[in-house]
Subunit: 673 residues, 2 copies
Amino acid sequence: MGVGGVSKRIILGRKLRSSQLGETLLPKRIALPVFASDALSSVAYAPDEVFIMLSVAGVSAYAYSWKIGLAVAVVMLTVVASYRQNVHAYPSGGGDYEVATVNLGQNAGVTVASALLVDYVLTVAVSVSSGVQNAGSALSFVQGHETEWAVLLVALLAALNLRGVRESGAAFAIPTYGFMLGVLGMAAYAAYRASMGELPDVESAHLHIDPAPGYSGEISQAALIFLLARAFSSGCAALTGVEAISNGVPAFQKPKSKNAATTLLLLGAIAITMLLSIILLAYKMGLKYVDPHDLDRLTLPDGSPLPEGYDQHTVIAQIAQAVFNEFTPGFYFVVAMTGIILVLAANTAFNGFPVLGSILARDGFAPRALGSRGDRLAYSNGILFLAALAMVLIIAFQAEPTRLIQLYIVGVFVSFNLSQLGMIRHWTRHLKTETNPAVRRKMMRSRLINTFGLAMTAAVFVVVLLTKFLAGAWIAILAMVVFFVIMKGIRRHYDRVEEELVVGDEDPIMPTRVHAIVLVSKLHKPTMRALAFAKATRPNLLEAVYVGFDQETTDRLLEEWDERHIDIPLKVLYSPYREIIRPIVQYAVEIRQANPRGVVAVYIPEYVVGRWWEQLLHNQTALRLKGRLLFTPGVMVTSVPYQLRGSEIGKEHADWELERIRPGDVRRGRIGR
Amino acid sequence: MGVGGVSKRIILGRKLRSSQLGETLLPKRIALPVFASDALSSVAYAPDEVFIMLSVAGVSAYAYSWKIGLAVAVVMLTVVASYRQNVHAYPSGGGDYEVATVNLGQNAGVTVASALLVDYVLTVAVSVSSGVQNAGSALSFVQGHETEWAVLLVALLAALNLRGVRESGAAFAIPTYGFMLGVLGMAAYAAYRASMGELPDVESAHLHIDPAPGYSGEISQAALIFLLARAFSSGCAALTGVEAISNGVPAFQKPKSKNAATTLLLLGAIAITMLLSIILLAYKMGLKYVDPHDLDRLTLPDGSPLPEGYDQHTVIAQIAQAVFNEFTPGFYFVVAMTGIILVLAANTAFNGFPVLGSILARDGFAPRALGSRGDRLAYSNGILFLAALAMVLIIAFQAEPTRLIQLYIVGVFVSFNLSQLGMIRHWTRHLKTETNPAVRRKMMRSRLINTFGLAMTAAVFVVVLLTKFLAGAWIAILAMVVFFVIMKGIRRHYDRVEEELVVGDEDPIMPTRVHAIVLVSKLHKPTMRALAFAKATRPNLLEAVYVGFDQETTDRLLEEWDERHIDIPLKVLYSPYREIIRPIVQYAVEIRQANPRGVVAVYIPEYVVGRWWEQLLHNQTALRLKGRLLFTPGVMVTSVPYQLRGSEIGKEHADWELERIRPGDVRRGRIGR
């Protein structure tokens, strides 16, 4: 079995606890790229945001850039250390949602789920926007049309996922390792060139940055701290996706938890190395990088404005261009890998969204239809919903990663915090019963790590909230609140229904008699079949019912009825206003009232056609009638289908739909972020 | 009974041939406004189009304006004379569609129907655009935002009709008589002022018109004729709506046909008087009027361009402003009545569209659902469809009546022509059997009139086609072809199905046994009820079927089953891939194959909730399963509903929907144009 088949099975391995799964577990070298694309891809935009924020105070503030990089690295290490504890404690791969629900209760779980839903949307929007921006550095026809390209790309991803693309392990491994190779190779080559004393400058090195209004001249300590805090919280975008491995523990080879923890550490180390390399290189190579809206703050050395149409390339692109100035393929390789891994990260959201939906459905927080495997409709709706929201964001923020990132990080830290808090509770609970001193010591250590992690992520969360709330985080928070309220409402509804449906101790009431009526609109084959079927059920009373508008047609039908010697009485309901549904419902209600312990069985002949537009041409009245009769107690409605010749098309189509969506397709991707 | 109730009943009188209708018939004074709003409203824009066309050759061509008016009047009189024959021959009110179908066959009828559908859309677009343009003459905030206001107005009309407004006779009578009073009063007052020698000039009288490029200096005879032909065919827009009365004959007091014919003549006379008055006044008062796109061809007397922001008011508004320069309320009255009658004309299309749809449905050219009375869904879809198409046209042509009218008249003349041709056939056919010389003479006379009418309308049709095809008529023709093809396709489908369903002479096959299966997902009240109901039908074999995903849940259900001592065997279908539908369908097919002469009855417990969003949370699997089982021969599907407490809301809503759409509401409006 190839790598492709392996990894596909694994990503949904968590759910299929069948015995044959053992042979398909992931070695670390495959698990790393499968779970790391999202986390590593954020390295592509985090440095840009740090430099943009610092540039507000002019180029002098760039001296802080690597310190901020270090601070982000410390947070990341802390988060990695914390999630290593999750991995050991929850090897089932339930993710933050499970940790929060089990340890902190339903509301915390739903809060995490809301944050995750918002984050899926933002992952798509941010990754695609950043990917397009990177593409713009190499492809001039993308420049200036970023929004259109980003929307197009989201549409393409949605279409591919609607068609049901199957990702192979290679699809993860090649770009992820390619991206690592590109960035780390670039860093190594740059280090070599620096050691030779010939590290080149980036293209923007000769430019000058005017500080933003209010930041020129000496700035106050408070303003500086606020600025550094903003730069830091933007840099924390690099943390998104780190927790993914904690959802994938069951996919690892044994010892699962240990291997997962090791891979997590590896991922953290690589991400930190890449992030710090990029920031350090950018700083050393004289990068000047400002908010694309403030391009006029960039000036030429003589103070004159930039030439019309200057396009600011991304940080990675600028570094790659300079480092590989004598080896252009290197530049193209780095930029291409960056773009691909960003799109791959967006695609993971398309995979993860329905998985989260199915788990929420299982727990009653989402429509149950999302939880049934192979439900093409629900799956498609999820993809369209995700794509539509991402497109709205991309259009609203003109595909500018800098703007979108303001919304992004809040959700990530909501789940970080609740997850850490849940873990502390978890250890405390287990410590109450655990007596083995060695195990207790280990648990105490884990709790300490999680506590430290919580302190760190909580502090960062406060910084993020303070610095980003007005800049856009409020939108993300509002969206979370909306998701939260909807999910709680759905759960409340299901709970109420379930309560009402519990079978009491009373014996079920057996209906005493069945009064069957067959609806007749014409005397054709479907009617004959319905009459025959209804008769076969041997009801206590059987009659055919016709709703008559005018005497002429009614008489003709009655004649035909006699001619054919049909031995079932035909009752005519006269409807002067040409209504069909009301007289039938009324008649059913009357029968039932006359015999409250009986059942009315309504047989509706229906013919089945093949094509969707043919469906529109038939059975609309039957459909509405069935809908209406559902509300009438004591009535059961039976469709007696008559398959027309063309109906084979529809059947094949229905079968094909079932065929195409094998259970696995829907459960791809990972839960949680 | 008030006038409102009367007229509402009447408009749909044709269909309700009940005996009590006699007392509610329309006197001529009410019938006139009910049927005339559309025809008279076109007087509001036809003159403008004539002057715009003539202005191409400069102001000197305006000398032809009243001659063109006379030509249009002659055509109108001919059409009126022709339709008086229709009224006598087809007092049932079937309109052009009936005349064409009966006399020329199905294809001609469908062609007329296509033309009518296109015309409904254009009536809305043209009337609303013209109404907004008129409003702009009095309300400065409308100027320059005509498209937005027109779209808004269409949306408003659609919303009102979706809500189900009820028009009263007063709603027709007041604005129609108000409009007549306004225009004819204005003409009378102007005549009085002219007789005193003080007829004022309109505001544009002092302006100069530069001929269009190619028309300056001496123009060729051919170019002049072409220009006059274009002006004439634009002026023929005044004819739209004249035939409306021929659809409403059954609504008149006896003698119906005679009264209708008299009203038709009256309508023609009034329309001609209004049209000629406006054209003559405009000419005498020195109007200068050009295509709003060519405003730069209007110059000040000294040759300098018009001031920036000059807004060209409509012809009626300019005349009213000048005539009532000493009595401003008169101006506002005329403009307001013009705007209102135009909107009223648009509204008649919203009423007529579903009526035409229901007739087409009756004849199998439209989905049959459109033909069932009180079908809110179909009715709403018709309104939305009409509004959407009208909006598209308004936006595409920026709410400019001049542009839209290029599309308008083709459809009208298609039905005129086919209707006249049909009438000639009608008389010829009747003459073959008629022997009474007096009647024969009358028929010969009628046929002569219709022949003359056909000659006239055919000539105008050719002129319209030649002058307008490239200017936009091709769009209307293309749309007609599309409608035609769709309607024929639908009819072909219905014919094929009907043929297939005819009952042959063979005896219906009685199924030998019924194998009933009750689907169980949980052991709750709906399941218990379904089991009880299924048992009550006493099938030959009854079993409950559960689709099991895992051992644990399955075991729990089996235990519960035993505890409750349910005497129906429970069969578990094991589904390792968590599919539900496939195993059930497969099982049903197997049962059927084992006993091809038996029937499989599948009982599905469903619970019924109230609100629409609650519906989304339930029964999705049941719905899909039912859809799939319809394709399986020998299977009938029974829904056993269980009404939850909240379901009363849904029932009330369903009842309210039925209540609200009384048959009358849907059948309002007239058929045909």
